[in-house]
């Protein structure tokens, strides 16, 4: 039942998911999580859920990383204001 495409998608998602955890810097993590999000969309597509994949592309690869990035920017700005240069 399981196709080669599905196996590839599963392995890629597993690898990039691990990468998200292994990267410790939040800024880099935001970029990696975006990559992971787009791979996850591929996984959904491989498992015949194009509807979910479509929303995952936008939310996973744009929405979540964007909010992360902005939160990081906000925090850094505040820290930079308090302690001079970070």
């Amino acid at each position: 039942m399981i196709e080669a495409f599905q196996i590839v998608a599963l392995v890629l998602v597993a690898a990039s998911g691990t990468a998200v955890v292994l990267v410790r810097d939040p800024l880099r993590q935001a970029v990696v999580v975006s990559f992971y999000g787009s791979l996850l969309a591929g996984l959904f597509f491989a498992f015949q859920a194009p509807d979910v994949a479509l929303s995952q592309i936008v939310i996973g690869s744009v929405g979540v990383p964007l909010m992360l990035l902005m939160t990081i920017a906000k925090i850094r700005k505040r820290e930079g204001g308090r302690e001079g240069d970070e």
Binding site: L54, S55, R82
Partner: protein
């Protein structure tokens, strides 16, 4: 741990779906609703009441976000309002390269078109109100990425986004009421499903898709904008920058 392993042993084999509801829908949905995307006819018609609930979750979540962040903004923006006008657009705009600007602005049109396409063709192909709505919201982000924060504020004034979000959510609930009035059951599909494969097939499903598209696009744009406002407009109190 043992419990998890024990639980896994009880799962059906890969690709062996055990659920009569899904099987039934897969058989019945296309002949009954004439919409070729069964997922959409499930979420908007057979399970429309759940979607109404989800809609309200998104609506209240964004509402809460806006209210929460607005309180923060009110404290700080008053002091800044004075020099806000002086600095104006030039002061706040990021300096972006021409390549990024041209590429970004070139992408806005196709992105909007894609979003509208996904919303309106939800009944035929994978997609629908939610997916199209978020795509529309990203078009706004592209405008920002192209370095035109001021332009982004211009094409998407917050009252317009709020109105879009609210009217989308209201329209969805009203279509539900329409089912109650015309067909006697809340959320019942009361419009003739039409012919299979045509753009307007599926009864009220395309209309619901548009309502949800409006709501989601408004909600996400509003959320993005609030976040951007937080990071760009507001300087930290007493901060050096």
């Amino acid at each position: 741990m043992a419990l998890v392993v024990w639980g896994f042993t009880g799962l059906p084999d890969f690709g062996h779906y055990k659920g009569d509801y899904g099987r039934l829908l897969a058989k019945v949905a296309v002949p009954e609703r004439k919409a070729t995307d069964v997922v959409v006819s499930t979420t908007f018609d057979y399970r429309g009441f759940d979607t109404l609930g989800e809609e309200m979750i998104l609506f209240t979540a964004v509402l809460g976000l806006v209210v929460l962040l607005r309180e923060l903004r009110g404290e700080q923006e008053e002091e800044e309002e004075a020099d806000d006008n002086k600095e104006g657009e030039a002061g706040r705009e990021h300096r972006t390269s021409d390549a990024l600007r041209i590429f970004g602005l070139g992408l806005v049109g196709p992105t909007v078109l894609l979003g509208v396409y996904i919303v309106t063709h939800g009944t035929l192909t994978p997609g629908g109100g939610f997916q199209g709505g978020v795509i529309l919201a990203t078009a706004l982000l592209i405008v920002y990425l192209a370095g035109r924060y001021a332009a982004m504020r211009k094409v998407s004034p917050i009252p317009l986004l709020e109105a879009g979000e609210a009217s989308g959510a209201t329209a969805f609930a009203l279509f539900g009421l329409g089912g109650l009035i015309i067909a006697g059951v809340y959320m019942k599909n009361f419009i003739d499903p039409g012919t299979k494969g045509s753009l307007l097939s599926g009864g009220f499903i395309p209309l619901l898709n548009i309502a949800v598209g409006l709501e989601v696009a408004g909600a996400f744009s509003l959320a993005f904008q609030e976040f951007l406002d937080q990071t760009i407009l507001l300087r930290s109190p007493g901060g050096g920058e």
